[in-house]
């Protein structure tokens, strides 16, 4: 009888089972080799791995889309923060400032052009403010002071990037297990082909 493949069940950090490696095909299949069943088991395990691979790839793509968004928002807020910091010392040490530097612009409100729609932009003037409103998802928007907003976004970015790293790790682990199973399939199949041919030659 073909030996069951599930006797060795090791898992990686996030519960993905490790693929059993067949050291010796003949020994694994046993005295009455049932190649069909063995191949079917391998194929079904392979299908499960491929399904997990699909899921993780989707998750990775989602994260890879989210991260640039967080970075852009963070960029904008840091820009606002820079402006504010630029203004305060300006008022104290005006003589030290380089004349080429934009003295006027610091006191004028910031003019921006923002996106109303895909191809439609509107002009806006930003007053000096220390609060920003962050969209948290699920129809929730909260106001934050600039430094708090920066901390929040930096944390979000860090956690997104670490999730991304662990998803990529899992994907690589899965890739290894899929390779092991594919090699198993190939070897079992080849072994069977050889055995059949030898059996035929003996007749």
């Amino acid at each position: 009888m073909a030996t069951s493949m599930t006797k060795i069940e090791e898992k990686n950090a996030r519960g993905i089972p490790k693929a059993p490696f067949i050291a010796d095909v003949a020994e694994h299949l046993g005295p009455n080799p049932d190649v069909e069943t063995a191949l079917k088991e391998i194929q079904s395990a392979l299908a499960k791995y491929r399904y997990m691979d699909q899921n993780l790839t989707q998750r990775r793509r989602g994260l890879e889309d989210k991260i640039p968004d967080i970075k852009k928002t963070l960029n904008m807020i840091e820009f606002l923060q820079e402006r504010r910091e630029g203004k305060q010392p300006k008022q104290e040490e005006e003589e030290d400032e380089d004349e080429l530097d934009d003295e006027d612009v610091e006191d004028k409100p910031i003019k921006t052009t923002f996106e109303l729609n895909d191809t439609l932009y509107a002009e806006a003037e930003l007053e000096d403010t220390d609060t920003v409103y962050l969209w948290l998802g699920a129809n929730v928007m909260l106001s934050y002071k600039l430094p708090a907003a920066i901390t929040l976004l930096r944390d979000k970015l860090k956690s997104a990037e670490s999730s991304l790293t662990s998803v990529i790790e899992d994907l690589e682990f899965l890739r290894e297990q899929i390779t092991v199973m594919e090699v198993n399939t190939a070897r079992v199949y080849n072994w069977d082909v050889k055995r059949r041919r030898e059996a035929r030659e003996q007749e």
């Binding site: 050291a23 910031i110 921006t112 996106e115 932009y121 994907l171 290894e176 092991v180």
Partner: protein, 131 residues
């Protein structure tokens, strides 16, 4: 699937032991990693080209006109010199990321070459490691 001729089949007598399996796994992992890195490199190269074109445009632009510089998703009206400064900063960041990715890709390639030598030596035609 590729079928090998019967004479060549006898080359396949090399059995796959655990060490070989690990080499094959490592190769597969590096291959996937390399492909992902090359995709990201493409995107970054395009960004860098855009930034470089921007530099040239800005140098020719009038010094008094405010430049609409993109920060995140919105555009900010910046005076010319401010825009140049930001552009230089953004270019430096892009260059840094580009060189990190390039190093990663090179590392993958060197490792893969080493593994190819080992695996082709043992398996010859029985294994296919090229695109």
């Amino acid at each position: 699937m590729r079928m090998i001729a019967q004479e060549d089949e006898n080359d396949n007598n090399a059995e796959v032991n655990w060490e070989d399996q690990q080499n094959i796994n490592a190769f597969s992992k590096l291959n996937t990693r390399l492909r992902n890195t090359e995709e990201k490199l493409e995107g970054l190269k395009q960004e860098k080209e855009a930034l470089d074109d921007l530099t040239m445009e800005l140098e020719l632009a009038d010094e008094d006109t405010p430049v609409l510089y993109r920060v995140g998703e919105a555009y900010v009206h910046l005076p010319h010199n401010r825009a140049m400064k930001r552009l230089a900063k953004d270019q430096a960041t892009a260059d840094q990321e580009l060189s990190i990715l390039k190093d990663q890709a090179e590392q993958c390639e060197t490792e893969m070459k080493k593994l190819k030598v080992v695996l082709y030596a043992k398996f010859g035609k029985a294994i296919n490691l090229d695109e």
